[in-house]
């Protein structure tokens, strides 16, 4: 009887030790970047980024489908290194930032793949929300500074801005927008 009790207790302890809780991360905005490039008359690519970001993510190694990702960019923080162009981008011709100040992504489904995750979620841009699927690669961890665990991911994907209601000047400015997202998070 005592042996059985001891065995059962040991089993419970082992199971408890094996269970890995999901890790919550806060976005490290100093090491996060959302950039894009878009065709200008088919001649070259114009590059830009969003400078004001916030977000968080949860990584559940034991149950990847429980992982979550959320990233928010302030549309008004768009920066293409040209004040006039940035002013134009913020106008109703493009982002219409006074009407739609936020660009956001919130995951709805996560699947583990080799070297990362396949994440499906809602991309909200210009007042339109559409599901997209992206592949996040990364997941290495590091301790920096001491005592702070961090991890990071990168993804690249393309959207059509007209699908999000940004359909002005398609003859000169491309419809396809190549987006690159790279971010680190610090474990809470």
């Amino acid at each position: 009887m005592n042996v059985r009790l001891m065995s059962f207790a040991t089993l419970i302890t082992m199971i408890a030790a094996l269970h890995v809780r999901a890790d919550d991360y806060a976005l490290d905005v100093t090491h996060a970047a959302v950039s894009f490039q878009i065709s200008h008359f088919g001649l070259s690519m114009t590059h830009g980024r969003f400078k004001d970001l916030k977000g968080s993510f949860t990584i559940d190694s034991a149950k990847p489908s429980a992982s979550k990702f959320e990233l928010i960019a302030k549309a008004d923080s768009v920066d293409t290194d040209n004040a006039k162009r940035d002013e134009h981008l913020k106008s109703p011709d493009f982002f219409n930032t006074k009407q739609h100040p936020v660009v956001s992504f919130k995951s709805t489904a996560v699947k583990a793949i080799k070297d990362g995750y396949e994440v499906t979620g809602d991309l909200s841009l210009h007042g339109v929300t559409k599901p997209i699927t992206v592949k996040l690669s990364g997941g290495k961890t590091a301790e920096f500074p001491k005592g702070v665990t961090r991890t990071g991911y990168t993804t690249n994907f393309t959207i059509k801005r007209s699908e999000f209601g940004m359909d002005k000047m398609l003859e000169g400015i491309g419809d396809d927008v190549q987006i690159s997202v790279s971010f680190e998070g610090t474990k809470k």
């Binding site: 006039k84 109703p92 011709d93 006074k98 100040p101």
Partner: protein
């Protein structure tokens, strides 16, 4: 980038539409026919031009200018079609009070779009802006319409020039597509100037509301400066100068041709100032870092 061919098509469509409506309304030899010709002609012309420019493309409307064109602009047309002065004044007041709230509806100015407490205007500031802009629009609308009843053709020329200048200024201020609405309005009012006479006042009233809305959208949603918005909206009021001068002193009564010339030239001079300021700002903002991108690179 604004397509000059599309703009030309929009201008022609606006002008033709306005002309047809005025010609039809002219057959109604009545005060109603006069008001309908001017108001509906200008409104229909401007809307036809806006449609050609792709400014009315979605229902429900997706931005401030679309909201104005679909909801309030037709009401402004109906207002100016009313023959009874008292009812028309009341409706002008209602439209004037409605324009700014409609334009900023669900924008970051009045809504917490980026989290609680993120709206840019407090409720008190919002109320003050609504009341202030309503008064400005109502007063200018009334003043310009009244002058147009006396000197329709010259005031129409002044307002058409102002609308064209507004179009270019708003486009230079970073709202390339919306600014083109001013071209459609200029074309419609230009027809009033050419055909002249009794249809001008109601049409000019409609155009004034259109210009006000374009300037408010340009100021609040794009890079139009407050100074340029004020200069452009006040420009048609300078057409009052010769008449006010004559009222102050009989000895200052000017020759009719000089009065007409000043009624057109003074507003256009103010528009020219706004254009110069907008071009200077465009060049300065486009310059980027010294030695690097210039306005031609941006274009």
């Amino acid at each position: 980038m604004p397509d000059p061919i599309v703009i030309l098509k929009a201008v022609v469509l606006a002008a033709v539409t306005t002309s047809i409506v005025i010609l039809i309304a002219s057959r109604l030899q009545s005060r109603l026919g006069t008001r309908l010709g001017g108001a509906v002609g200008t409104g229909a012309g401007a809307l036809a031009g806006a449609w050609m420019l792709g400014l009315i493309s979605r229902i429900p409307p997706s931005d401030a200018l679309e909201r104005f064109l679909l909801f309030l602009f037709p009401i402004a047309v109906v207002t100016e079609s009313i023959t009874r002065d008292r009812i028309r004044s009341i409706l002008r007041l209602v439209v004037s009070a409605s324009v700014t709230p409609l334009i900023v509806y669900k924008s970051s100015y009045v809504t917490d779009l980026f989290g609680p407490g993120s709206r840019e205007w407090s409720p008190a500031v919002t109320a003050a802006i609504y009341v202030g802009l309503a008064i400005v629009l109502f007063a200018t609308w009334t003043a310009v319409s009244r002058l147009a009843e006396r000197s329709g053709r010259s005031v129409a020329f002044a307002v058409a020039g102002t609308a064209g200048g507004t179009a270019v200024t708003v486009m230079l201020s970073g709202y390339a597509s919306g600014g083109q609405l001013g071209m459609a309005v200029a074309a419609a009012v230009g027809v009033l100037a050419l055909l002249g006479g009794r249809h001008s006042s109601p049409g000019i009233g409609v155009a004034t509301v259109g210009l006000f809305s374009l300037l408010v959208v340009g100021r609040l949603f794009a890079g139009l400066t407050t100074l340029n918005a004020v200069l452009l909206f006040a420009a048609p009021l300078f057409a009052w100068f010769p008449d006010l001068l004559a009222r102050r002193s009989n000895s200052m009564r000017l020759a009719t041709s000089l009065q007409t010339g000043l009624r057109i030239a003074l507003p256009l001079a103010v528009v020219a100032v706004a254009l110069v300021l907008a071009q200077q700002k465009f060049a300065a903002d486009s310059a980027g870092h010294p030695g690097e991108a210039s306005s031609s690179d941006y274009q």
